[in-house]
Symmetry: C2
């Protein structure tokens, strides 16, 4: 049996009772750690599970998935995912490959940023498609997210922007010397995301994410020190959101009265200087 188990967003205690029961029945436990991360280290999970946890990087899940499937073919195996199970494409892939091998699968859901982001007051049913922002480099500045924001905006919907994370990225300078050394993990901040949005708005000028666009920055949703701030992109750009993970929501052109009432509890204007 291969269990796909969502871990939720905060720490080891965000697993469900059913999820924990399933994990406890498993001989092998893999933790996917490259599309998101918990607010605590793997040691906390191992202490709770009383069992070692194998950290599965992108390479293992995408290229060496046989290791996970071989295990699931002979014993109960857990594949743990921060947030919910099917946020990232690769996990459908793993599910399909398990099915192809006639391995039984079971999915145990949990909160994802895709639903938990509603804690800011914006109504979940008013969100359009979700976009992902990647770290821009000198030569690679992909901005296909912009057209999706324009589409959502045109039918008065909010846009959740998921921000890039880079874990276990090889250091190319070292690689050229024949050594494999990994760079420290990087997590895009709301501020960096806003810089990208403003840059791309400047390029296409369709008026969806300029300095005066209303947005909500969210940091560490579901963790004890969760931080939410509502304001214009220009205002939020100056706010310190602290530790990762960050996400950003671009508000629809119209916010409903009830949305605004709740958002105002997080208004940047109320921040203590």
């Amino acid at each position: 049996m291969l269990y796909f188990i969502g871990l939720g967003l905060g720490n080891e205690k965000d697993i469900t009772l059913r999820g924990l029961e399933a994990v406890k029945s498993c001989e092998k436990i893999f933790l996917e750690n490259y599309t998101s991360v918990l607010g605590v280290g793997t040691d906390k999970l191992e202490a709770l599970f009383e069992h070692p946890v194998i950290v599965a990087d992108r390479d293992l899940v995408e290229s060496n998935a046989e290791m996970i499937l071989d295990s699931a073919a002979v014993c109960n195996t857990a594949f743990l995912v921060v947030g919910d199970v099917f946020g990232a494409t690769t996990h459908s892939d793993l599910w399909i490959r398990a099915k192809e091998r006639n391995i039984e699968v079971q999915v145990i859901h949990n909160a994802s940023i895709m639903n938990a982001c509603s804690c800011c007051g914006l109504q979940l049913y008013r969100f359009g498609q979700t976009v992902s922002l990647c770290f821009f480099t000198e030569t690679w500045r992909p901005d296909s997210f912009y057209e999706r924001i324009v589409q959502n905006h045109s039918i008065d919907l909010h846009t959740l922007c998921l921000l890039d994370i880079k874990v276990k990225e090889p250091d190319f300078k070292e690689l050229m010397k024949g050594r494999t050394v990994y760079l420290p993990p990087r997590f895009m901040t709301c501020n960096q995301a806003i810089d990208e949005l403003l840059e791309v708005e400047e390029k296409y000028k369709k008026g969806v994410c300029g300095p005066d666009a209303l947005a909500v920055g969210l940091a560490r949703v579901g963790q004890p020190d969760q931080f939410i701030c509502f304001g214009t992109l220009k205002e939020l750009r100056e706010v310190d959101f602290g530790q990762p993970l960050h996400s950003l929501i671009l508000c629809a052109p119209h916010t409903h009265e009830m949305e605004l009432e709740m958002l105002n509890y997080f208004n940047v204007k109320n921040l203590k200087k």
Copy 2:
């Protein structure tokens, strides 16, 4: 302290460890039971919590919320919501009213149908706005959902349709005799939803939810006997989805290859006759 705690979708074991810890610290526990229901009775929750649970109907939450707030002002109080916390508008309202009274609030998230629906294979980031379908009556056939489906369809997005539930609806015949009697709860089935969609498509003819439109019917997501079926509306109309709760997803005009590959595991054509 007022804890807003998501219960997830299946049974009492879908609460998170953190959620359970919070509930155990509470002197009063309210369960919102009118926007969704768990697959088990309140008795199972009470057994797990070792504490009575007060079932809060719409009237209590919307008109008598002071009862909840008064409790939260003096002792730890839990407000339990099936799925995640902020699926339904009224819960933002309760959150705001608690804040107005300077009552501390804490939100503990969980899976919602809004993210768990991705278990069918459709990618979550490709969903547009969510629509709700109400039971049509002779004289009241609201179809504003149709325009939203058209909007999503026009930018190639999936549409999650949430289906009406009626719990604790007064029996008007009895009411006229001066007696308050409640009708048995009713839950819209995928089949009923499809009838409404086909009727409205027939009226506006924009080609978004006719008999050949591709869709996914989901029943009891996250429960052991979860059932998912993928096909055209015409095909799904004839499928028995069993016990509630049901939801329906209208697929975007284009499904991606990976989506289709996973959807096909639920293809109506594979159903054993």
